[in-house]
Amino acid sequence: MAKTILVVDDSGTMVLSLKNNLEIAGFSVLTANDGIKGLERLKTGPKPDLIITDINMPNMGGIEFIGKARATPGFRFTPILVLSTESQQARRDEAKKAGATGWMVKPVAGADLLKIVKQVLPGA
């Protein structure tokens, strides 16, 4: 059974890039274009095994989304990776405090993305 990954990003380019990369590698991919839609995805439909989220998004940003996802039943230990153009340590600390598992700076090479995904998803 393919592992499911939720991609949350307001950029259509990013969503399609990640979706294609992950699907070619054999993952099943869900998408949402902001934090609110991301939370809806967590409450309905298949349960993702991993979440990849942007930080700067309209309606609900990534940091708030991570905090609310962690408070959602069943997602306390689900790996959450941040993928953002931002790279400063303060923002990383903020994300870590909210419950993020790791941080990636855009753009991330396809091979690097799959490497880190397999690292946080044992057996993938």
């Binding site: 990003d9 259509g12 855009k106």
Partner: protein, 333 residues
């Protein structure tokens, strides 16, 4: 959020007491024209970003379609390879059966010779029996002659030889019957010998023809198997090459998809640039448009602040490559 903070800073700075300055009539129109230009540039930048996004999405769709086709092709080739492997196994099994038949046929002449020798021995025995039948016929003939002589002598003896004459007649009849039976036996044995002889000749000829025919079939199958082995080897090589190309294509696709993320990076960079320009334009507008007492030195400080803030914001955004002393591009907490 950063735009609002910048504007708040701008207004805080504007609330400070302004030093006296000379009015600058005419500047307002010039600044307004410049701001119009900036707005047009900003709109064009928006259009350019939208176009690059549309193109990036189209490229990704097409690259994905290529990758999917390659995967489908590889899948079909793999299926064809499996079918060929099954076919090869069938041919191998059939060739093995033919080889077994060929080995049997190789031994067949020896067996035939042995059987022929056996039949020849039987024919010799039959020939011996024929000789015995001839002897029986000769004995019958002698018995016949003897019975005739006995009848003659019985006639000479008159009534005393009457009984002997009856015996002589019976012996003559027995001799005739024996002769007839021996002749039948001899004829039957001759026919059996002829049949054996003809059968042996036919079997020898037919087995030789069969041997030639089967040897040809065996050679043809061996050649077929050899050709098929070569074809399979070539096919496997092509399949391996196709799989390598497919893997390279998939890796290339992943790289292309990763590189296309730069469109989003550039989009955000343009957005930050537009925000900085918007802040600068707001400052210019406030200072020069409708303001009878513009203060260029205040405006210069404001623009310097906006520039510093813009550069500071840019520093916070990485380009995906680790810079000296900066946090790593990928980090697990």
């Amino acid at each position: 959020m950063r735009v609002h903070a910048a504007f708040a800073g701008l207004f805080r700075r504007r609330s400070r007491p302004r030093p006296p300055a000379m009015p600058a009539p005419g500047y307002g129109a010039a600044v307004e024209a410049s701001l119009d230009l900036d707005r047009e540039i900003s709109r064009k930048l928006d259009e350019a970003v939208a176009r690059t996004e549309t193109s990036a999405l189209a490229i990704m769709e097409q690259v994905r379609a290529l990758c999917d086709r390659s995967t489908e092709l590889a899948s079909r080739l793999q299926k064809a390879n499996n079918d060929a492997a099954e076919f090869e196994q069938d041919i191998t099994d059939n060739a093995a059966a033919l080889a077994q038949l060929a080995r049997f046929l190789e031994c067949l002449p020896v067996r035939l010779q042995r059987d022929l020798a056996c039949i020849s021995d039987i024919a010799g025995e039959i020939k011996g029996l024929s000789g015995m039948a001839e002897n029986v016929q000769a004995i019958s003939m002698q018995s016949h002659l003897l019975s005739i002589n006995a009848a003659i002598e019985a006639s000479r003896a008159g009534s005393a030889g009457h009984a002997f004459k009856v015996v002589a007649a019976e012996v003559r009849a027995l001799a005739a019957n024996s002769h007839t039976a021996a002749a039948h036996i001899g004829g039957s044995l001759a026919r059996i010998r002829n049949m054996l002889k003809e059968g042996l000749e036919d079997s020898t000829a037919e087995s030789a023809d069969d041997m030639v025919h089967i040897a040809r079939v065996s050679q043809a199958v061996t050649r077929l198997q050899s050709s098929f082995d070569r074809a399979c080897g070539s096919y496997r090589d092509r399949l391996s090459e196709m799989q390598q190309h497919g893997e390279a294509l998939a890796a290339g696709t992943v790289d292309v998809l990763g590189q296309l993320q730069y469109q989003d990076v550039v989009r955000q960079c343009v957005e930050r640039l537009q925000q900085a320009i918007a802040q600068r334009n707001a400052a210019f507008g406030q200072e020069f448009i409708g303001n009878p007492m513009p203060q260029p030195e205040v405006l210069a400080r404001l623009v310097a602040d906006i520039t510093a803030e813009y550069l500071a914001t840019e520093k916070l955004h990485g380009d995906g490559e680790q810079q000296g002393g900066a946090a790593p591009a990928i980090e697990l907490f």
